[in-house]
Amino acid sequence: MSETSAILAETCNRLFSDLIKSETLRESELGVWPDLVWKKIEENGLLFAMVSESYGGSGVKWIDCFQIIYSSGYYSVPVPLVETIICSWFLSQYNKVPPKGIITFSGGGKPLDLSGSNNSYKVSGVIERVPWGSSANYVLAEAHNSNKQVYVLLDAKTSKNLKDKNIGREPRDSMTFDNVCPTIIVDYSERFMSNSLLVYAALARSVQMAGGASAVLDNCIIYSRDREQFGRPLAKFQAIQQQLAILAAEAAAAKISSQIACRAADLIDVSSGLEFEVAIAKIRAGESARLAASIGHQVHGAIGFTDEYMLHYLTRRLWSWRSEYGSESYWAQRMGKAVITGGADNLWADITARL
C-alpha cells in the first residue's frame, strides 16, 4: 500500500467511525440531510481528492482514492461523497474548475436533449435514479443532439424533481430539465466518450461493495463470537466457520478485483478498454455482495432482520449497488460477447496482456 493510500485509509477510518452512527443512518434514510457528515468530509479535503492540484485538489490517483470509496462503502456513508469526488475529477480532467458543493451524476440511461448552438446551448429531458439529486447543487450528465454529444454540468436548482429511493434508502431522484442553460459544457474527448460516466460509476459501486462486504464480514465475526447457543459462541460451530470462510474469500476477491479496476483507471481511458477491468470488478464484487448479504443475514439470525440492528444498512446497500450501473449479467454479457468473438485461442493472450 502506498503512503497516500495508508493516510487516506487512516483518515477515513477515523472520520467515519466517529461520525456515522446508527442514528445518522436512520435519520438520513428518513430524508434528513446529514449536514455535519458533509461538512466534516469537506473540511478533510476528501471531495477534491482526485482534482488536480492546480485546481485546488490533492491530485490523488484512483488507486489511492480507492481507500476513500472503500471506506465509504464500509461505513455506509449517507452522502454523495463518491459522486462528488468523481464529478470534480471529471471536470478537472477537462481543465474546468469544479464548483464547490454537492455534485452528483447521471451515470446511464437516456441522454438529455441538446438544443441551440454555440454559446447558447440548452438542455431538456429527464434523468432518472440520480443519487441525491434533490440535495445536490450540481448534476453532471450527457446531452446529445443529432450532431453533437457533450457532457453538461447543470445547476440542480433548475430541475423539477421526483424523489425516490433505492433499496438502501439512498435518494435516487428523477430530475426534469426544461430548456436549461448548462453551467459547463464539454465535448467528448478521447478520455471520456459516450457512457464514460456509466463506467466510472460502475467502478465506484464495485469498490463500495468491496467495502460493504468487508464490513458485513467484520460484523459477523463480532456477532458470532458474542452470541451463544447450545452453551457456546456461534463462532465455535463448524457450520458457522465454513460460512464465514466463504464470506472472507469473497470479500478478498471483491477487494482485489475493484483495486485492479482502479489501477486500470489511472493508466487507461474508456476509449482504450477500461471497461474490461470495470466489468470484471462489477461482476466479481456484485457476486460477493450477494453472498455477503445472504451469509451475513443467515449468521445473524432474526436479530439481523430487525430495524434496530445495524446489519441491514449494509446489506440493503449491497443489493442496491449490485444492480446500479449495470448488474453482473449486464457487464458479463458485454464482456462475454467480446471474449467469444475474440476467439478461444486469444483469451489467454488478452488476459495476460492486461496491466
Binding site: 465454513q242 470462510a245 478478498a252 482485489i256 470484471i280 460477447k337 467469444i340 483469451l347 489467454w348 488476459i351
Partner: protein, 381 residues
C-alpha cells in the same frame, strides 16, 4: 477491518519477452499435442518434456546459483502459467519444482541441496508428496508411519496413500513420526527424503474412477533412511509441512485445471448469439482474471519471504470452485452428452473434466479443511 492483506502486484519489466519465449517453445515442442491431452492439465506426465524444460532453464529458476538463476517468483509465475494455460504435460517435474525443491532449499542441508536440486532443475529427478495415509486424510497430524532410530539413520515402517505418480517418481518427501505417538499430534513429526528405488519400498498404483493410474499406495517395510536424508530438524516436520503448503495452494495450478475445457467451450460458442452463453462466459472470465491477480499477489508475498498461508488457502478455495464451475456451465450451455471414444475435442475434454473435477476439491486439502484454516485466520477458532 482487513482480514487478509493482498497488495496488487505488478509483473517485473522484461517478463513479456520471457512469456513470448515460453509460448514459442510450446508452439514448437507441443504443436501436435492433442487438445484432449491438454485437458488433463498438470496431470499430463511426460518425462522427456520436463527434461526439455530443464534444458531451457525454466525449472527451479527462482533458486539461487548454482541450482537456479535467482529469478523472482513472478518470473517463474509467468513460465508456469503459460505452461498451464497451454495444457502442457508438466506432471513429472511438477511437485519437485513446486514444493520439494523449495522445501529442500529452505530447510535441507547443503549436502541434500547438492545431491538433489540439480536433478529437479534439469527435469530428470521427480518427487512426490508423502503426506496422506490410509487412516490419515484430512487429519494429517494423526499420521502413523514410524521412523525408529537406527545406527546412522532411521528404519521406516508404514504406508502412504493417494501419492500422485509415485510409480514414476524417484523420491518421496515423507512426513513420518520420529518420536512420540499419534496422541502427540503435531509433535514428533519429521520429514525424510526416501529413495523410492529402495527394494524395501513397494509402490502399487491405484486405478482411479476415470480409469487412469495416477495415484498410488506406497509401503515401507523396514526401509533404512540415512541421517543425511532428514530434512531440517527432527520434530519440526509439522511446521515445515505448513510452509510447504503455501507453495502448494496458491499457484495458478489451483485455478487453471479446467482451463482447457473453458477454451474448447468458447471455441464452439464462436458463432453464438445466445445471451446466456455470453453472460456465462463473461462471468467465468471475471473469475479467472480475479483469481490470477490474487494468486500473483500471493506470489509477490512469497517472493519477499513472507508466509501467506491463509491467503494461499483462500486462493485454493476460490480457485477450485471456479474449476468445478466450468463443466457445470458447459453442461448448461451446450446440449450434448459427451462420447468418450469418438467424441469431439470438446466432448472428450468435458468428459475428462466432469469426472476429474471432483478430485480438485480433495487434493491439496479438502474444501472443508481449507475453510477451517481460513476460519482460524479470522480468529474464529
Amino acid at each position: 477491518m482487513q482480514a487478509f492483506n493482498l497488495d496488487l502486484c505488478e509483473l517485473p519489466p522484461g517478463v513479456d519477452i520471457l512469456r513470448e519465449e515460453v509460448r514459442a517453445f510450446l508452439f514448437e515442442t507441443l504443436s501436435s499435442y492433442p487438445k484432449t491431452s491438454r485437458a488433463r492439465s498438470w496431470m499430463g506426465f511426460d518425462a522427456e518434456f520436463s527434461s526439455k524444460l530443464g534444458d531451457r532453464g525454466w525449472l527451479g529458476m527462482t533458486w539461487p546459483e548454482p541450482y537456479g538463476k535467482s529469478c523472482s517468483s513472478l518470473e517463474r509465475y509467468v513460465v508456469i502459467e503459460e505452461l498451464l494455460a497451454f495444457g502442457a504435460p508438466v506432471a513429472a517435474h511438477w511437485i519437485g519444482e513446486r514444493q520439494s525443491g523449495p522445501l529442500i532449499l529452505r530447510f535441507g542441508s547443503d549436502k541434500q541441496q547438492q545431491k538433489l536440486l540439480p536433478g529437479i532443475a534439469s527435469g530428470k529427478s521427480f518427487f512426490c508428496i508423502g503426506m496422506s495415509e490410509p487412516n490419515s486424510g484430512s487429519d494429517l497430524a494423526s499420521i502413523n508411519t514410524q521412523a525408529k532410530r537406527a545406527k546412522g539413520g532411521w528404519i521406516v515402517n508404514g504406508q502412504k496413500i493417494w501419492t500422485t505418480y509415485a510409480q514414476k517418481c524417484h523420491y518421496m518427501i515423507a512426513l513420518v513420526r520420529t518420536s512420540g505417538s499419534i496422541e502427540g499430534r503435531h509433535g514428533g513429526l519429521s520429514q525424510l527424503i526416501i529413495d523410492l528405488r529402495d527394494p524395501d519400498v513397494t509402490v502399487f498404483p491405484i486405478r482411479n474412477m476415470i480409469g487412469d493410474e495416477e495415484f498410488n499406495e506406497v509401503k515401507f517395510d523396514n526401509v533404512f533412511v540415512s541421517d543425511s536424508m532428514l530434512v531440517g530438524e527432527e520434530g519440526n516436520g509439522w511446521q515445515q509441512v505448513i510452509a510447504e503448503l503455501a507453495f502448494e495452494r496458491s499457484g495458478p495450478d489451483r485455478f487453471l485445471s479446467s482451463y482447457g475445457l473453458m477454451v474448447e467451450l468458447i471455441r464452439i460458442l464462436y458463432e453464438t448469439k445466445d445471451k446466456h452463453a455470453e453472460v456465462a462466459i463473461g462471468r467465468l472470465t471475471a473469475h479467472l482474471f480475479t483469481l490470477r491477480q490474487m494468486s500473483l499477489a500471493v506470489a509477490a508475498v512469497l517472493d519477499e519471504g513472507g508466509q501467506p498461508n491463509i491467503e494461499a488457502t483462500v486462493i485454493k478455495d476460490l480457485g477450485v470452485a471456479f474449476e468445478q464451475l466450468i463443466p457445470e456451465i458447459a453442461h448448461d450451455l451446450i446440449n450434448v452428452s459427451p462420447n468418450i471414444l469418438h467424441g469431439s475435442d470438446y466432448e472428450k475434454s468435458l468428459a475428462y473434466i466432469q469426472q476429474a473435477c471432483v478430485s480438485f476439491s480433495l487434493r491439496g486439502g479438502t474444501t472443508e479443511i481449507l475453510r477451517s484454516i481460513i476460519a482460524k485466520g479470522l480468529g474464529l477458532r
